[in-house]
C-alpha cells in the first residue's frame, strides 16, 4: 500500500489543486493505480471537497484507501464507523481490492428533513 499523488476537486468538480503526498516510499509508476474518490454529505463538510483523485499501489483495498484519506483529512475519522462505502456505484466491503480508474464513494447518512 502506498500513495503517489492526489489531486483535489473543488465544489465545481474541476481540478483546483494537485498535491504530492509522500506518506510512504515512492513506488515505481507501473505499480500505481489511480482511483477517483467521491465525498457526500458530511464527508464534503469535513474535507471541503466533493472528490479527489487518489493514487494507490496495486493490491490496495478499500480499507487502505480509507486509511490514506483519513491520514490526508484527519477530520474524516468522525464518520469512519458510519458510512456507506460504494465502489463503482455498488456496495463494497472494506476488504475489496480497488482497480485502476475505480470510483470509490463515501456516503455518510443524512438525518435532516
Amino acid at each position: 500500500m502506498s500513495v503517489g499523488g492526489l489531486s483535489t476537486m473543488g465544489e465545481q468538480g474541476g481540478e483546483v489543486e494537485t498535491q504530492q503526498a509522500n506518506i510512504l516510499p515512492k513506488a515505481s509508476d507501473d505499480s500505481l493505480l489511480s482511483i477517483k474518490v467521491l465525498f457526500f454529505a458530511r464527508a464534503r463538510d469535513l474535507t471541503g471537497l466533493t472528490g479527489i483523485s487518489l493514487e494507490v499501489s496495486t493490491g490496495s483495498t478499500a480499507h487502505d484507501c480509507l486509511n490514506l484519506l483519513i491520514a490526508k483529512f484527519p477530520r474524516l475519522d468522525e464518520i469512519r464507523g458510519c458510512m456507506v462505502l460504494a465502489l463503482n456505484e455498488e456496495y463494497t466491503s472494506e476488504s475489496s481490492l480497488v482497480r485502476d480508474k475505480d470510483e470509490l464513494a463515501i456516503i455518510p447518512p443524512i438525518s435532516g428533513g
Binding site: I79, C82, I107, P109, I110, S111, G113
Partner: protein, 465 residues
C-alpha cells in the same frame, strides 16, 4: 407591539367569532353528509379505530365510482398503472411521519393520487421559518399544529380519502399502535433517533419503509425492509456521532431540495402501494442539487448479523418499546437548541448588561465568532467578525483592536478596554472565551444566549434566524 393592544384584542375577538361560525358550518356539513350517506370522512382522530377502507362498486367490475374514474382518469390512462394500480392505491394506507420539508410534497401527492387512507404524524406547530420549504402549510396556520394544517391542505385537494391526524410525536410508547394501522411508512423526520426508531418499528411490524433525508443541497432516498432490502441498522449499525448529524436549523437547506426528495418518497410509496414498477429497494439515490447530479448506488442486502432484522435477531415488540433511542444515538427525539454551560457566571454577562455598558460608553471590543455567512445575515454595530474556527490564528487582530479602543478613549479609561464575545445562541461564545482565557486574554467575557437573547431582551426588532 403594545400600542396595538386594542387592535389585537379586537382581531382576536373577531377570530373567535369566525371560529365559532366555522365550527357551526362544519357541523351542519357533517350532518348533511350523514343524510346522503357520503363517503367523505372529514375528521378522524387516532382515538377512533380506523374502519376498513371500502370503495364504491358502481358495477364496472373495478370498484371505481364515476367520480373516481374522472378524478383519476390521467392515471387510469397509464397502461402500466391503470384501473388495477388505482384500485390497489385506493385500498392502501400510508403513514407519513413528519409534516415538514419532506412530508409536505409527499403528503400533497399522496392525497392527490388517491391513497385510501393517509396518516400524518407530527407534534410541531407551523413557524414562519418553515414556509420556504414546508409548502403544505400556509401563513394562516402559523402557530397552529402542523398536522391540522397538513390535513386541511390534503382534504382541500381530495375530500374523498381518509386523512388521519396524529398530533403527537412518534415514540416507542405509541409507534407500534400507530404504525400497525398502515401498509407503508414514509420517514420524513429530521433527526437520527427517530430514523432508528421508525426503522426498527417497521422491521418489528413487517412494513416497508420509504426513507428520505435532505440537508443543505443534498438528499438521500431508499426503501428499507422491503423484498430483501436492508433496514437502517443493517447499513448503519453504529450511530454516527452527534457532530456528524447536522440539522436544517444549523446548516441550512434550500427548500426545493427536501421538496425533490419528498416527491420521490411519494413516488416510491405509490409504486409499492399500487404494485407497479421496481422499487428503490437495495439501492440508494443520492441527489446533489448544486451539480445537478443524481446517482443511484447499490447498497448491501439485509445483514444476517443485524441486531434487529438479522437471522438470529429476536427484536420483539416489547424490546422495541423498552429501547432507549435517545441514549443509543445520544441525541433527543425532539431536538431543542443545545444550551452549553462551560463558563462560570463571573465571566458571563447578559445581553441587557452588555447594552447598559454600551450606553455608558465603556471602552470595549465585541468579537462575533459566528461563521462569516452568518455575520452577513445580521450583526451588532461595531462587532468584529472572527469565526471560532479561525480564532486561534487571529489573536493579534483582537490585541490591536483592544489597543486601538484604548487609544480612542484616552488614558482616562483606567483598566483598559473590555473584551466581549458573542455568537448566535451562546454556545460558541463560551468555547471562544475558554480559548481566549487559555491564550492570555483573561478578561474575555461572553454574552449569555448570544444574539437570540439580544433580540429577545434588548431589541425586539433585531432579526433572528
Amino acid at each position: 407591539m403594545e400600542s396595538n393592544g386594542g387592535d389585537a384584542f379586537r382581531i382576536l375577538e373577531e377570530i373567535e367569532t369566525l371560529k365559532a361560525a366555522k365550527s357551526d358550518i362544519e357541523h351542519r356539513i357533517a350532518n348533511l353528509q350523514v343524510q346522503i350517506g357520503g363517503v367523505a370522512v372529514e375528521e378522524m382522530t387516532d382515538s377512533i379505530l380506523c374502519p376498513p377502507i371500502s370503495t364504491n362498486d358502481a358495477g364496472f367490475g373495478h370498484g371505481l365510482s364515476p367520480e373516481m374514474v374522472y378524478r383519476y382518469s390521467r392515471q387510469l390512462l397509464l397502461p402500466s398503472f391503470g384501473v388495477k394500480g388505482q384500485s390497489n392505491l385506493l385500498k392502501s394506507s400510508i403513514l407519513v411521519v413528519g409534516a415538514g420539508g419532506l412530508g409536505s410534497p409527499a403528503l400533497l401527492y399522496l392525497a392527490a393520487c388517491g391513497v385510501g387512507r393517509l396518516g400524518i404524524v407530527d407534534h410541531d406547530d407551523v413557524e414562519l421559518n418553515n414556509m420556504h420549504r414546508q409548502i403544505i402549510h400556509t401563513e394562516a396556520y402559523i402557530g397552529q399544529s402542523k398536522v391540522k394544517s397538513a390535513a386541511a391542505a390534503c382534504r382541500a385537494i381530495n375530500s374523498t380519502i381518509d386523512i388521519v391526524e396524529h398530533r403527537e410525536a412518534l415514540r416507542t410508547s405509541n409507534a407500534l399502535e400507530i404504525v400497525r394501522k398502515y401498509d407503508i411508512v414514509i420517514d420524513a423526520t429530521d433527526n437520527l433517533p427517530s430514523r432508528y426508531m421508525i426503522s426498527d418499528c417497521c422491521v418489528v411490524l413487517g412494513k416497508p419503509l420509504v426513507s428520505g433525508a435532505a440537508l443543505g443541497l443534498e438528499g438521500q432516498l431508499t426503501v428499507y425492509n422491503h423484498i430483501g432490502s436492508p433496514c437502517y441498522r443493517c447499513l448503519f449499525p453504529t450511530p454516527p456521532p452527534t457532530s456528524a448529524c447536522q440539522r436544517c436549523s444549523d446548516s441550512g437547506v434550500l427548500g426545493v431540495v427536501p421538496g425533490v426528495i419528498g416527491c420521490l418518497q411519494a413516488l416510491e410509496a405509490i409504486k409499492i402501494a399500487s404494485a407497479i414498477g421496481e422499487p428503490l429497494s437495495g439501492r440508494m439515490l443520492l441527489f446533489d442539487a448544486l451539480s445537478a447530479r443524481i446517482r443511484i448506488v447499490k447498497i448491501r442486502g439485509r445483514s444476517l448479523h443485524c441486531e434487529v432484522c438479522g437471522e438470529n435477531a429476536a427484536f420483539t415488540e416489547q424490546m422495541f418499546q423498552d429501547f432507549d433511542y435517545e441514549k443509543f444515538t445520544q441525541s433527543p427525539l425532539t431536538p431543542l437548541p443545545l444550551k452549553l454551560k462551560l463558563l462560570p457566571e463571573n465571566v458571563r454577562i447578559s445581553a441587557k448588561e452588555y447594552k447598559e455598558r454600551v450606553v455608558k460608553g465603556e471602552a470595549h471590543v465585541l468579537v462575533d465568532v459566528r461563521p462569516e455567512h452568518h455575520f452577513k445575515i445580521v450583526s451588532l454595530p461595531k462587532s468584529l467578525n472572527i469565526p471560532l474556527s479561525s480564532l486561534e490564528g487571529k489573536l493579534p487582530e483582537i490585541s490591536s483592536a483592544l489597543k486601538e479602543e484604548e487609544k480612542c478613549n484616552g488614558p482616562t479609561s483606567s483598566p483598559g478596554a473590555s473584551l466581549y464575545v458573542i455568537c448566535r445562541r451562546g454556545n460558541d461564545s463560551q468555547r471562544a472565551v475558554q480559548l481566549l482565557h487559555k491564550m492570555g486574554f483573561t478578561s474575555a467575557q461572553d454574552i449569555i444566549g448570544g444574539l437570540e437573547s439580544w433580540a429577545r431582551d434588548v431589541d425586539p426588532n433585531f432579526p433572528i434566524y
